[in-house]
Symmetry: D3
Subunit: 134 residues, 6 copies
């Protein structure tokens, strides 16, 4: 990245990562911002995915584990959890591992946060035909 | 305020401020509390608006900027954000400024909180015919 | 509890407490976890209710007061507040005391959290025919 | 409170409650605000204690239980927990009950919040010669 | 920003903004990251200040009002509040306005968060010879 | 775990896991609870480590990634972050991976939380002779 890039090139770079990780769910979020906050959409793509997610120091599945932990702890992030539970599945985490991560969150964030995350996962798994988790 | 006032006078004083800032949205919140927690409704009006909001040291638009920042950071306050995005528009902030404040929140609270606030603003702007924001 | 118990016995012990405190609302939460995270359901019952709630050092009504305070402060826990407002009524707190606790939360968590908790209580009270609160 | 009162009278009314509940710890907080935010000090006393705490609908010990729950869940409130653990002891809660409330918080807020609250209690109990808790 | 820029140019662009807003306090934070997380330091400067803060849609003083609100609500951000209370003074907010913003935060985040922010401001004001605030 | 176990056996089971993951740092936390809240210490060991951490569905390093994400997002958990950054190193995560996880947290929790976590890591790395991180 020492070379010179345009704003558009940085966006394109991030968009490839967003598509690979989040698929249409990510694209839908960016689309929903077009008429109200296009710059926020640009920055999620160009910075969040182009500058941060695409760095080599941490595997995509490891990034999703950290992210699932953060979104569970924050609370009130069910739409983002939906996107990232899908993303976690896309990059190779199993439903069992995701559920295990949320079980662990009970010890650090308490049962209410763990429950909200787990029931969000249930909806995602149901849509993808992954229930029951065994 | 050195003079003697009744509880009812303090309520009336706050109600004028609530109506000026929040309009019917604020009145609806107070109304919804009537049969369950009238004292909470009283205190929001008499204290929140009568004692705090009506102080002269900070302009109404500045108070809304602080408030939008707080509600975004707290999370899970979409109903209150709806009231205060309306209030922000009522006291002179533009849709562009509100969106810019939420963009800035990404750096301090992260993208999930920024997204939730921005998509709440989108609903308010749509109801008031203010989309697209350019 | 110095004696030897099986995992199933610990679950049964917690289930009796869960039923006494939360009634069908608690059972429904555990049921909803069956096909996605049965271990989380087990731990809520066996540990949360069997090990923590059933300890003798604090009265059930006192436990609910602490819990209502926590859930209000956390935010984004409306489903859990619904269960615990019901539980609070089940163990002897009055609607007036619950509303008073939420009023007090305004001073420690601010009006938005107090409002969300109070309006959740309003729904519970309405379902149980307890409105208006006077 | 239907009668007419001055701002000063409302302050005096709250101050009596503050002294009864929080003792010198509360007075020290108000004193520390004198040269930077005297209005905040006024409102904590006149509104927080005069209008909210002094209401008859919930016993002082019950108010402390709710408050300990909220401060634990909020996190980052160790100075306020110190004041309120002292207050809880002042209005009749035992060290055992306070510790039991924080143990319960592990199930709702997770171990980190429960630990921070418990270790704050340990300092208060040490100062008051209440260790060990048995 | 349609033109092509290097990573270094974006850093330099942000650094000018950081220096203008935060002065040595901001530079110290970046310096403290050099041996542990230089990329985080880079992104705070190049993205936070270069891409977000430097946008024209919101005045620097308005950005600080939003930021003070967010940091107060988040809690546990006293080091960042220290930087931003200094920044707020640097871009033209008065001590009175800052204190008024924190007073308002009592209504939205509760007294504990308002107190922590106000006592952080007291330290900053003391260092800059701005006490008492009248 | 279908077999019958005593409370003491469950504690011993968890203690082996606690020692393996957290080393003396974990033991020190439990020790500090002995005279104030021995039951909390028991439950952290017997339940947190014995029942949750020791489950086979998620690797120890993966559990630490989730946990670092949660503690960063919660805020105000610097003592627990210190324990878990040490634990993360103990189970095979590199300083570079830990720092990368905290960099990513900037996108989900904002810079203040990312900074507090990173500067906590700096202290741990310094004590273990792991600076600079390159």
């Amino acid at each position: 990245m020492g070379e010179s890039t345009t704003r558009e090139e940085r966006y394109e770079h991030g968009l490839a990562m967003l598509d690979a990780v989040d698929g249409t769910a990510g694209a839908n979020v960016i689309e929903s911002l077009k008429d109200v906050a296009p710059e926020l959409g640009h920055q999620i793509v160009a910075w969040g995915f182009g500058e941060i997610y695409s760095r080599p120091g941490l595997e995509p599945r490891d990034r999703q584990l950290v992210t699932l932990g953060m979104l569970t702890a924050l609370g009130g992030c069910e739409p983002q959890l939906t996107v990232h539970i899908n993303a976690a599945l896309n990059v190779g985490l199993t439903p069992q591992q995701i559920i295990e991560a949320f079980l662990q969150s009970a010890a650090y964030c308490g049962f209410p946060r763990a429950l909200n995350a787990t029931l969000t996962a249930k909806k995602v798994f149901a849509e993808r035909g992954l229930l029951p988790v065994e």
